[in-house]
């Protein structure tokens, strides 16, 4: 419990009990999770992230047979991750787009603290939604897959999907904080991951495998190139978060 003062201002004799200190980090993380889900666009992205996997798997099942569970789970993990990028972007860039960042920083002027809370909040949301997506996809696969379905590596595939969910949401939050502009952050992330990196893969596959976070997720879920894949995802998380933090701490709130 934080200390409570009956009067924040001795001069005023206020009747309202306000906390004397700033919000604790867990309070801020919870608050940022609530903020992410407090409007339709946030809830829509969350619902899409949770549903994309099972719906996609069910649709794919009409056209193909699943013999190995880990393969499709890896693909579901990276697709869900791409949706969770948007959830992360909205949590940071959305505040600049709607200018709510003004109130956020008026109440908690330590910008690094706000960003840390947002990072943790979208990581928890991303991991949870990715777990729902991967778990329900797995249930669909179990229902529609071949009778002697290969369950090898399912555990690692699920863990990868959940971890990638957290990582992509955090990458989105970092990119959103760096650009302070929702359309710009989303366009550049999707253009890079879905447009530029596939071209790099054609031109120089060795380089691309060290750059592409979606490919890293799929590969890691299938139990291949584990160290490299983790390094690629971690690299994206670190670069995006540091860029977001550096640029946010200097940006004037107009």
């Amino acid at each position: 419990m934080t200390t409570v003062l009956t009067s924040p201002a001795p001069s005023l004799g206020s009747s309202v009990e306000a906390r004397r200190t700033g919000p604790s980090l867990p309070t801020l993380v919870g608050l940022e999770m609530r903020k992410s889900l407090s409007h339709r666009s946030g809830r829509a992205f969350a619902a899409s992230a949770a549903l994309l996997g099972p719906v996609g798997v069910a649709l794919a099942a009409t056209d193909a047979e699943f013999g190995w569970a880990a393969g499709p789970i890896g693909i579901v993990g990276s697709m869900t991750g791409l949706v969770l990028l948007a959830l992360g972007v909205i949590s940071t860039a959305g505040e600049w787009t709607h200018r709510t960042v003004q109130t956020t920083f008026l109440l908690v002027p330590q910008r690094g603290r706000v960003l840390a809370a947002k990072t943790a909040a979208v990581a928890v949301l991303g991991a949870t939604l990715a777990a729902v997506s991967a778990g329900s996809s797995l249930a669909v696969i179990a229902a529609v897959g071949v009778d002697d379905l290969n369950w090898d590596g399912t555990g690692q595939a699920l863990v990868t999907a959940v971890g990638a969910g957290a990582a992509f949401a955090v990458i989105g939050a970092g990119a959103g904080a760096a650009t302070a502009n929702t359309p710009a952050a989303l366009t550049s992330l999707y253009l890079l991951i879905m447009g530029v990196l596939p071209l790099v893969r054609i031109w120089n596959p060795d380089l691309a495998q060290w750059l592409d976070p979606a490919e890293a997720t799929t590969v890691l879920a299938q139990g291949d190139a584990e160290a490299r894949s983790i390094a690629v995802l971690a690299g994206w998380v670190v670069v995006a978060s540091v860029a977001g933090w550096v640029l946010t701490s200097r940006r004037p709130v107009q």
Binding site: T2, A9, L12, A18, R19, R20, T100, T103, L106, P252
Partner: protein, 295 residues
């Protein structure tokens, strides 16, 4: 107490806030007045740490805003009423702020009622009018019942009833010992609300004082049965006299009593005698446009 000292903001080689200093005392409403572009908003943003100052400092009870442990519980700020997520309801918006401030969630209902938005609490802010958003912004600033209120152009979008309500709110806050800084580019909107005027023009403070001291009587107008005779008597008594409209005489720097005494001594018949106040708008114009219309 709020102390602003030498606050300066430069954008490139333009100085938009230039060495602004003032203090705000508990129990007063200070009107921060100046035409659009004078530097009011920039000053307020620097005071609250949203925009870094090029020079100078601002402190609340001796500490920079950003170092207050829970600043929203000390300073209630309304800067930009449109800075609310349009997809949230008014109630959700305030409950999120209440959680950040550490006040009970029920405070959201109390301030919604206080600003007259109880019926709109469940509606999304995207559908609010400018005046409603302004009230929502004020509700947010009042959540923790902070001792200091800093409001930037709060009456924008409010109807006359809303302006009167705002006046009562701010006067009541000062009467309880609170400190209020209220900016406006229209004197008429705040002239009955403020105790003190802080006038800013071109980024500089050009006047700072009580309303009475800045707008004190500036002379008298008199009409007499025999204008020429009264004029001669006044000039003989050492007053400078100027012709006014319709044969009236304007006597700058004189109080009506001074003129009455001269008239009584000389047996002059007076048809009209009253003080002239320097018009608020005139003063404002003169102070903020230095090269303006001084006669």
């Amino acid at each position: 107490m709020i102390t602003v000292s030498g606050l300066t903001k430069r954008y490139g080689d333009r100085t938009v806030v230039d060495d602004v200093s003032f203090t705000l005392e508990p129990g007063t409403v200070t009107g921060f007045l100046g035409p659009n572009g004078a530097g009011k908003t920039t000053t307020m943003r620097m005071m609250t740490g949203l925009v870094p100052a090029s020079a100078g400092s601002a402190t609340v009870d001796g500490r920079p805003y950003g170092e207050l442990p829970n600043p929203g519980a000390v300073v209630g700020t309304l800067l930009d009423a449109s800075a609310v997520h349009p997809g949230r309801t008014g109630r959700t918006h305030l409950r999120l702020l209440a959680a950040a401030l550490g006040v009970p969630a029920e405070r959201a209902e109390e301030v919604l009622a206080q600003v007259g938005l109880a019926d709109a609490a469940r509606r999304r802010v995207g559908g609010y009018s400018l005046g409603m958003r302004q009230r929502l912004g004020i509700a947010g600033a009042l959540l923790a019942d902070p001792p200091v209120l800093v409001f930037d152009e709060p009456v924008n979008g409010l109807d006359p009833e809303g302006i009167r309500w705002m006046r009562d709110l701010l006067r009541g806050h000062a009467a309880r010992g609170g400190t209020v800084l209220l900016s406006s580019h229209l004197l008429g909107e705040v002239e009955h609300t403020v105790d003190r005027l802080l006038v800013i023009g071109g980024g500089r403070v050009v006047a700072d004082g009580s309303v009475a001291s800045l707008l004190g009587p500036d002379g008298a107008v008199v009409r007499a049965g025999d204008t020429a005779a009264l004029r001669a008597a006044l000039e003989a008594a050492g007053f400078h006299v100027e012709p006014g409209d319709d044969g009236a005489l304007v006597v700058p720097g004189a109080r009506p009593g001074d003129i009455g005494a001269v008239a009584a001594a000389g047996g002059h018949v007076l048809l009209d005698l009253r003080p002239v106040q320097r018009g608020l708008e005139d003063l404002f114009f003169q102070l903020t446009w230095p090269e303006g219309t001084l006669s």
